[in-house]
């Protein structure tokens, strides 16, 4: 028995060593670098008081929150629909809805450019209809569309998996007791999906907070937090502020995921 214990420890040791060397140690170094600027430890306070950083943080949280709610609404309806009905073409529709599942942020940004960029279809259609070219890819609106594009597939999958597990008899029962369609959704379906929606929402929010590729592709003027970090590090060479901001950003996304995991109880698979 003791031998087995030792063997188990030996199995975990390489991964733990890797994690300490390339994750724990770097995070500690980053925390230290955050306090190494001219302001010292106060740098962490500065970024919460400075109007520019605070505005960026607010904008990022607002964007991530809006994306999360919109994604949950869209993916919730589509996911429950796909889980509930069997019809010809269902598999193809599901495949389409989950196609961009692993697209990197940069590619998602390019998709937004093709939709709403200078040569985009939305612009062409708008020009034909109103005579004015509609271009919104290179702004917060473009980023919003990009994050929806990115978040819907994985949320649809989570909702579908949870909706398959719901007991249809409960809905049947509610209906036979006279509950209308909306009552059934509000009192039976939504409570049943609560855990999955919470988990998917947390992942969606954390991913939108930290995503970088889409904003990087669309424009440099969008000052969401990851873009500010990148700018401070590369252009501004303001490494202490970049490190402090990264630390705060990491703390936020980690906390959101941890809270959701505790609340949902089930496995909250982490963000991609």
């Amino acid at each position: 028995m003791g031998n087995d214990r030792l063997a188990l420890a030996a199995l975990v040791a390489p991964a733990i060593a890797f994690l300490i060397a390339f994750f724990v140690f770097p995070l500690l170094m980053m925390a230290r670098t955050g306090a190494s600027g001219p302001d010292g430890l106060a740098t962490y306070l500065t970024i919460l008081v400075d109007a520019r950083y605070l505005a960026s943080l607010g904008k990022t949280v607002l964007l991530a929150g809006t994306v999360t709610l919109t994604t949950l609404a869209i993916a919730g309806v589509a996911g429950v629909f796909l889980a509930r009905h069997r019809f010809p073409g269902r598999r193809v529709l599901t495949a389409f809805l989950t196609l961009p599942l692993a697209f990197p942020g940069v590619v998602v940004g390019f998709m937004v450019i093709l939709l709403a960029g200078r040569q985009g279809v939305v612009g062409t259609i708008a020009e034909a209809l109103t005579g004015e070219r509609l271009v919104f890819a290179y702004s917060l609106a473009g980023l919003f569309v990009g994050y929806l594009y990115f978040s819907i597939p994985r949320t649809v999958l989570t909702v579908m998996a949870a909706a398959e597990k719901l007991d249809p008899a409960l809905e049947e029962g509610a209906r036979s007791l006279g509950a209308g369609r909306w009552r059934v959704v509000r009192d039976v379906v939504l409570p049943g999906l609560e855990g999955a929606l919470l988990a998917a929402g947390a992942i969606c929010f954390a991913t939108a907070m930290g995503a970088f590729g889409t904003a990087f592709t669309l424009a440099t003027q969008i000052d969401v937090l990851p873009m500010v970090i990148y700018a401070e590090f590369t252009v501004g060479a303001n490494i202490a502020v970049a490190a402090a901001l990264s630390f705060v950003l990491g703390a936020i996304t980690w906390a959101v995921l941890a809270i959701a995991r505790t609340a949902a109880g089930a496995n909250v698979a982490a963000a991609g």
Binding site: P26, F96, L97, A102, L114, L115, G210, A242, L249
Partner: protein, 268 residues
């Protein structure tokens, strides 16, 4: 099952189709733009060409090779590090294992740009490491390891391993023999699903890689961002097409493997 002319069903179908159109439409546009001679004039007027794909290989061939190499190396590393951990977590007593799992998953809960920055601050000045491709490898392993562990762990927990192992032990099989002949074969659906996930994620990783790369170590997604910013739309599209040709078969295989991994351990 309710009849199909139900108005609720129709509304749902229309809604889901619109969402699918939003997701697939741009992909089709991108693929078409990659083989269109002149996107501004349109594919019908200017015709189809493979010239842009040729340009992509001229400009970016090294990025494709590097990304494939890093993805494979990441796979090997996560197999070596992750599969033993999954097995140990499945066997170890509750609270400690939960804690270890929590710690292991942390790198995914933190944005890639933050992890990338931390890696540079800690290891960026150490010898030639910063400009070597293994610098990116380390980041990718950090980010993908949790997926390998989770996928393998789920299958091991669902399979009735303890009973099988007990039987083998009573017949005199040592630790290594049990690991190779019982654990690995039973965990293989989870290992396969995890492997496909790792390769897919590594191939597309950008958030961290943008900071970690140097001009000598440009990966495919970093190259994509470069082409979107500085090349014609047709070249960016053709390059995206190359990426999709690599990615989509992986996604299809992943879906299949994940279904198999979750469906395999049927309860009697």
């Amino acid at each position: 099952m309710r009849p199909h002319f139900d108005p609720g069903f129709l509304a749902g179908l229309v809604f889901a189709s619109l969402v699918a159109f939003f997701l697939v439409g741009p992909v089709i546009l991108s693929v078409l733009a990659g083989v269109t001679a002149n996107y501004q004039r349109g594919i019908l007027e200017s015709g189809i060409t493979l010239a842009w794909l040729g340009r992509v290989f001229e400009l970016y061939a090294p990025t494709i090779a590097l990304s494939l190499g890093i993805a494979l190396a990441t796979l090997v590393a996560t197999l070596l590090l992750g599969v033993p951990v999954a097995y140990a977590l499945a066997k170890a007593p509750g609270r400690l294992a939960r804690l270890a799992e929590e710690a292991l998953v942390m790198p995914v809960a933190i944005p890639g740009i933050a992890t990338g920055l931390a890696l540079i601050l800690a290891w960026g000045a150490v010898g030639e490491f910063r400009t070597h491709w293994t610098f990116i490898l380390v980041g990718h392993v950090l980010f993908t390891l949790p997926f390998m562990v989770r996928s393998t762990l789920a299958v091991i927990l669902a399979a009735k391993l303890p009973a099988l192992e007990e039987a083998a032990r009573s017949l005199g099989a040592g630790f290594l023999a049990r690991f190779v002949t019982i654990v690995l074969p039973n965990a293989s659906p989870g290992i396969l699903a995890g492997s496909l996930m790792v390769v897919t994620l590594s191939l597309g990783e950008f958030n961290m890689t943008l900071l970690l790369h140097t001009p000598f170590t440009m990966t495919l997604p970093v190259g994509l961002a470069d082409s979107y910013a500085s090349m014609r739309l047709e070249i960016g599209s053709a390059y995206t097409l190359v990426f999709l040709v690599l990615l989509i078969p992986l996604l299809v295989a992943l879906q299949w493997a994940a279904d198999r991994a979750t469906g395999a351990p049927r309860r009697p």
